[in-house]
Subunit: 366 residues, 4 copies
């Protein structure tokens, strides 16, 4: 088993703030401390599956030209649908291209690969590691913060900042017009963004996919706020929240025209009916992926990137770096691949929200 | 004609950032310099038309409690549909309640009234002044910046900041995913927000209500950008832009569900078809009304509020304060009430945009 | 032992962002959930030691007027020198006024008191608790983040954001003029602000009170950066860092004129001599105490405030709330009162910094 | 007289936010619209005076790598002391190197040169133009905004934003501790930053170099604020303000140690003595040069860059672009070179400040 000489780094899945800061830290550590070569694989897994292979050599000079610490997104590019084991072809078929990926790894003569990805990417990473012979480590990133085993994933803090800032703005206009403002935020399976930003932004109601809710619960909270002398209210709802009938309130693409009728729009009408108050809905969308990463995302990204490279130096593959109790640690991928991490019904933030009088859905038995 | 002793201030129409800063400046000048009483009229024109009258006395103490310079929106409240000459009653009828307004003015024994409002409010203000016997001055505010005779209205600068910031964020995610991102912004009649933020935020295409556009023009610009080696593009479109067929691309409320199918969604599909590039649309909505006002909006608001009170002190009624060439001036309301101020096809910003290679619609003959 | 009916809340020591958000959460929980009365004690311990007693009743209405979630500092006021056991009198004498404090507590018929303070305040809190008969709980706040037993104290995150933002700005001007920019930040005993912001802001050198440094170490790093083709560098230094001779580089007040000659100015000259590079120094000062609290500080403040009131409800006095591993817990004050928490020489952030090539002082034996 | 084929662009004097955005606009217009070559001259006038000549070719590709619209400072570098007519040599002598500059211009076969600079640079530009045979146009930039004939220079708006934000932060800590906070800002000859940020940031006292002041005037204002029930106050002072004795309150470099004893520190002591109130001083320094340019600076920079290139295309040399009344115009350099533009004692902003009760120095006869 020879020395490490050459590693790759790729970003996988939806983009977020701080990806470039991870790439920078990986390069600094690998090139600056260990003297290795670093290849940046382009467009997620595609760069290794496509032929010719697509990659770029990373060096420290890059950073004088591009400010990777502060630039949002990823200079390497990324794709949402790049699972090598279930790759969607243009003709609609889904094929297994994992051998292409492994072959690409070997053709580039990589001794290790840093994969920056979310919950799904970590599962794929584990499968690829299980196929053997290629050494990889994971760095968790996702605005949803639903990766197991780490307190924070890269990109989450910036996303919550963006949503909190939106609530600060909506609060002003809601108060001026005596309205109920509904803000629909990201979060298909988990309500981390909604509950963090909802508390920080002063929401009166926070709805998350993990907890059922009732229209009466919402209306009661609004009436209480009005009784206390405040004529407006703020509601944050995660996109993954279902209608009262338990259906998905999705965006439809039909008749050649995209129609947005998500959960925000649904609730806007229900709440207007139930309370007689004027409502308005805002869907933040892609701005939540952020631009300039927050201080915390830059810190996480920097510490993660260094530690990921150190794992490769020690040939400790099949692991993911994680943040726990003030520091970086690493965990085996098995611990991570147990599904998205959701809010616990009686976790600290939901309890804090309830303590502030915020309606967060029906209280499940403790 | 006795001395001025008591004035009112009200905010009218859609809220924006900086309204409170005007109210603060009016109070500081009237109470602090002249020793008058200031009554804050609640909820726009309603406070004077409702019986009992609704108002609150403003004083300097208020400011130690509430930070009106920095707080977004209006502590006095405002309504969108409060035209005394054409007031929509709950039963659907539209009635003339202008006498109620004038009567309210007299009952409060006001010697003058500062009305902070947009293009429409200034027209109503002029009509009310023409009815005689009540002395009023106007302060222009609108995120659309379409009030005549003033370079800037309160609220515009903050709105453009919010949109520019959104473009900074969308740029990062567009680049990471090689997408065309479409941002739909406010502006029913005028494209000031779109063109200001579009240039400042690095848009490749800016569509405004004032200029026709072609799908080919947009596609050509995107292809040129791609030919130069950039895989993503940013498009800003004002909500008032029509479809290629010349129809309004409005939001529909039908079947108990709000459906958003505005111009952004429309273009998203057309452009994806025409260029084969992945597109995404974001609708900023109410966050454009801002929270904490920008430095410029606070400056404008402060200078406007002081000057409006000075006009009342000089009994120079029927005028609007305005910003021209580095300073505050005032103009007769007649000069203002000539319809919304739109972009000139060959104005300085549209020309600058063209000079940067941005597609801003078909070029009209100079 | 009767029911809890009436509690107090006070802020102690240097102000920071998020204090008002704690006060808001305490009031929401105590008034809204438990139906208690809440008295806000004015100006730290003074409000209870002065006669007449100085306090204000807090209620939920307050929040419609003042936006305590978002407002920086403390509406209750605070003082730096208010230790009841060693109170500095105007005549220069230091006296024990702790009996006044205890007496004030009883006169107000308080059943509990929430003290929001730093490392020093927690020690005083413990002493007061030991005197018996008054029930108190602590909430940690300090921009220095040097309170034991909690991952974060209220105010720290905002302070680090401010410093990071300053580094982002200094980076631009440093690069334009090929300069070494030195930023002196707060931190008398502990370098938490310096190392967090230094990594997040892309510093090349970070000097903290906990680690010795050499001029040669700094110069070497600057020369390496220059060799890599970058003509500028950023240095962050905590105010508590000593000169190379081991002396404090303090601000002097002499001859009727304040002279600032702190560690930043000292290093500026030493580094200019050692490297022949142009240097400039910036001292951030009080802006680090922040205005609008960061998202994280609002979250912490909200969760801490709720939990502190719950402790009182359970009569679990003599404890401090703390943040550990994603949630709020509480610890006995004894665990906290073991001196300021400093950086560990081989802690995760210092290690990450070293991994990025940042000079953080001489490496102590592991 | 042949066609324009090749132009240069350089940045001169102190850096600020928006310089890169001008460079980007110049390149876009010259390369994209006219098909010219653009050479970026390095380090201000040095790049043309040094041998070998120092420059880099600018192209549109550059922008995919570096985000020049949003990046602060100048990628071309700049120097403060680069006057070709009075160039300071390392040996201390001052020599005329203007022939080197003209020679450099010809060696590079430039058909025109865009100089981005402040008040001083425009004067040098005029002298160089007068020497004949080289065609140049100026773009005004300076955080001080003291260039004649233009409402705004690039960099000013960002600087005022930074100062306003600092005041927002200082307000919170001043209120918490009942202090008078003094903020020293840039402005040697002109108080534009101080008065703009002072009004926008809610200052109670604004001192500028253009107006005399008295300690009694300041103290009176502070006492009035206190009488109204507010226990804190904010003071903004431009660095160029003199002591009461009329002397400069400069920073001294003596005994091997830089000592900061500027006007902020001076006033801090005087005001503490005069009012018995606790005072604190903050010196913002280089952060005022900004990082990411404000929306307005990006707009200005974009419009200026395009127009400057258009002037060259029309061979209208010896002119400076300027912003007046909503648009870009151009003026002959003679109109600009009449000294720094200072505040008029009865200009609109100083009047607005007085109207708000702010003390801005002794009122001169109108």
């Amino acid at each position: 088993m020879g020395d490490i000489r050459r590693i790759g780094v790729l970003t996988s899945g939806g983009d977020c703030a701080g990806l470039n800061a991870v790439i920078r830290a990986v390069t600094h550590r690998a090139v600056g401390s260990y003297g290795w070569k670093v290849l940046g694989i382009l467009d997620g897994t595609l760069g290794l599956m496509d032929r010719p292979l697509r990659y770029t050599e990373m060096d420290l000079d890059l950073f004088s030209g591009r400010d990777l610490l502060r630039a949002g997104g990823t200079v390497l590019g990324t794709v949402n649908k790049g699972d090598p084991f279930a790759f969607p072809m243009p003709d609609g078929k889904v094929v297994d291209r994992s051998l292409d990926f492994v072959d690409g790894f070997h053709r580039l003569e990589l001794d290790g690969l840093v994969v920056i990805g979310g919950d799904g990417s970590m599962r794929i990473l584990k499968q690829l590691c299980d196929k053997g012979s290629i050494g990889m480590v994971g760095v968790p990133k996702t605005i949803d913060n639903d990766v197991e085993a780490t307190e924070y994933a890269v990109g989450f803090s910036t996303a919550v900042n963006v949503v909190t800032e939106a609530l600060d703005r909506l609060q002003a206009t809601a108060a001026s017009h005596h309205r109920v403002m509904i803000l629909e935020v990201m979060g298909r399976d988990a309500g981390h963004i909604a509950v963090n930003a909802g508390i920080a932004g002063g929401a009166d109601v926070i709805l998350v996919p993990e907890l059922p809710y009732s229209l009466e619960g919402i209306a009661q909270r609004i009436r209480k706020v009005q009784a206390e002398g405040r004529s407006h209210a703020l509601i944050v709802v995660a996109e993954g929240v279902k209608t009262l009938g338990g259906e998905a309130a999705t965006v439809s693409h039909s008749g050649g025209q995209t129609r947005y009728g998500g959960i925000g729009a649904y609730l806007s009408e229900r709440i207007a009916e139930a309370t007689g108050t004027e409502t308005r809905v805002t869907i933040l969308g892609h701005v939540q992926r952020g631009g300039v990463p927050s201080m915390r995302d830059r810190l996480l990204a920097s510490a993660f990137g260094v530690h990921a490279v150190d794992l490769i130096a020690q040939r400790r593959f099949g692991r993911m770096v994680a943040w726990q109790n003030r520091g970086v640690i690493d965990v085996p991928l098995e611990e991570v691949c147990v599904g998205p991490r959701c809010l616990e019904p009686h976790g600290p933030l939901l309890n804090a929200a309830r303590g502030l009088g915020i309606y967060v859905g029906e209280v499940p038995p403790a």
